[in-house]
Amino acid sequence: MIKVENLTKRFGRHTAVANATFEVGKGEVVGFLGPNGAGKTTTIRMLTGFLPPSSGAASVDGFDVFRKSIDARRRIGYLPESVPLYRDMRVREYLKFRGQIKGLQGERLRMRMEEVVERCGLQGVRRKMIKTLSKGFRQRVGLADALIHDPPLLVLDEPTNGLDPNQIRSIRNLIKQLGENHTILLSTHILSEVEMICDKIIIIDGGRIMASDTPSNLVNQMRAAGKITVELKADPEKVRAALSQLAHIKKVTNEKSSEGWEHFSVLVQSGTDARERISSLCQENRWPLRSLYRHDSTLEDVFVELTRKD
């Protein structure tokens, strides 16, 4: 559905997006992750034809976003980050205008309007001025606008930004429903959102694509820095020396001690599990062992590992 090849955007000396290459298949719900200022919005603006790329190419449904811009735009429903709306228009009027401008008319326009109003839960505010609506409802109006011409691809730029938890939930559920028969590119920096909704994740940082895979694959790869917590009663120096000699151990740190119990955190190499060996070590030395726990890495670890600056 989306095909991006070596897409680059430079603003003067600053490179906002550098050689981005990725693909989004038909029907996929893809999370586009990155810290603030990573180049998410710039990439999306190039995809939607608002900014032309400095070099490289992108196409939507086979239409180049620059050369066949109008054809590509017909296939995209786009919700920009700031959800720009005409404040002085009524919801119905706005959706009608947007529908007309996207090529709908007559009976079809009326049907689509009814459908998106129902889908986005706007029945109660149809006749209200947009400026009187709350942020949550504005977001829904923006989403209704993106949906009105029934596009196969939805591009949503931080759709849950600035909403309260209930609103976030309802927007998320809506996106989940839409994901059943649309391709969705969802930009966000909220990780739980992505874990809940997306089939695939693209992580971008500093304008570069850092990873592009399914959430579970990404987490599995990141087991690299698996961490084990051990709590036992013994002389800390001895324990440290003994633990360090086990295989696949990267680093042992004594974090704290309380009431005679020593807390150690042990970093192990990727794809290994040292718990069994640690427990037998304790048995051999007759060290009382209170807890032995392995931290599963989460998407958050993956994200931090790929995008942190230090």
Binding site: R73, P84, Y86, I101, D145
Partner: protein, 250 residues
């Protein structure tokens, strides 16, 4: 073409759905009425060889309010869309830039034409209310209104350009006012220095005050028609490119 029409309708309705359009309409109607009554008083006081139309459009207040109309009706056009961010939703919908520019331009021109309906009615009322044959020929009335339309088509195009250059309505309005005043005062150079400088023919060619003198006597000069229409097309062309360039630069 349908997109052009959709945008045209939305913009034209926008003038009447906010108090703004009505305020401008009221203001202009009052000024037109003031000019009219002033001109009638002048005719009453002393014999004047010129027609009523000529006097109305040569009242001292005419240029004063006439030139203020344009920044008022054009300053929002593109700068407001840019500021609110709706330019992004417009230009990511399947709309071509020229459809947007033409839609907005012609809607504003349409509103401008509506602004002159009260003045037209005032001229018609004269003979109806006074029972005296109107002291002007239909040719002079037609000529004056034709020039009003031509000047409007150029000045609105200038306003469109100013509005597309900035996201601040105020700056757009000030730039438009500045450009229009410069254009107007250039026309007076030949009055001040007569024809003794090299650029005098050019100045005469673009002098709106001189055009108004001919046209409100019923003398329709095709050079002025060509000038206003081509200059308007040129400024619209620039506006189109400024908006497209915005997509290049962000």
């Amino acid at each position: 073409m349908r997109n052009f029409f959709t945008i045209f309708c939305k913009e034209l309705r926008g003038f009447f759905l906010s108090p703004f359009g009505w305020v401008v309409l009221t203001l202009v109607t009052i000024m037109q009425g003031w000019s009219m009554s002033g001109a009638m008083k002048a005719l009453q006081d002393a014999p004047i060889p010129e027609s009523l139309v000529y006097i109305v459009f040569h009242m001292p207040q005419f240029w004063f309010y006439f030139l203020v109309i344009f920044p008022l009706i054009t300053m929002r056009l593109f700068s407001e869309e840019e500021r609110v961010g709706t330019l992004e939703t417009l230009l990511t919908a399947p709309v071509q830039t020229w459809q947007l520019v033409f839609g907005k331009y012609f809607a504003t021109l349409g509103f401008y034409v509506i602004l002159w309906i009260p003045a037209f009615i005032q001229f018609q009322l004269f003979s109806i209310l006074t029972d005296v044959p109107a002291p002007f020929s239909s040719g002079s009335l037609f000529g004056a209104f034709l020039l009003i339309f031509l000047m409007g088509s150029l000045f609105i195009a200038i306003g469109c350009l100013a509005s597309s250059l900035t996201s601040s309505q105020i700056i757009a309005g000030v730039v438009t006012t500045g450009l229009l005043f410069i254009h107007y005062f250039l026309g007076y150079l030949t009055v001040i220095y007569s024809d003794r400088f090299a650029a005098a023919p050019v100045i005469r060619y673009i002098a709106s005050n001189e055009h108004l003198r001919y046209f409100s006597k019923g003398l329709i000069d095709s050079r002025a028609i060509v000038y206003y229409l081509t200059a308007a097309a040129f400024f619209l062309f620039l506006t189109h490119h400024v908006i497209n360039r915005r997509r290049w630069r962000s």
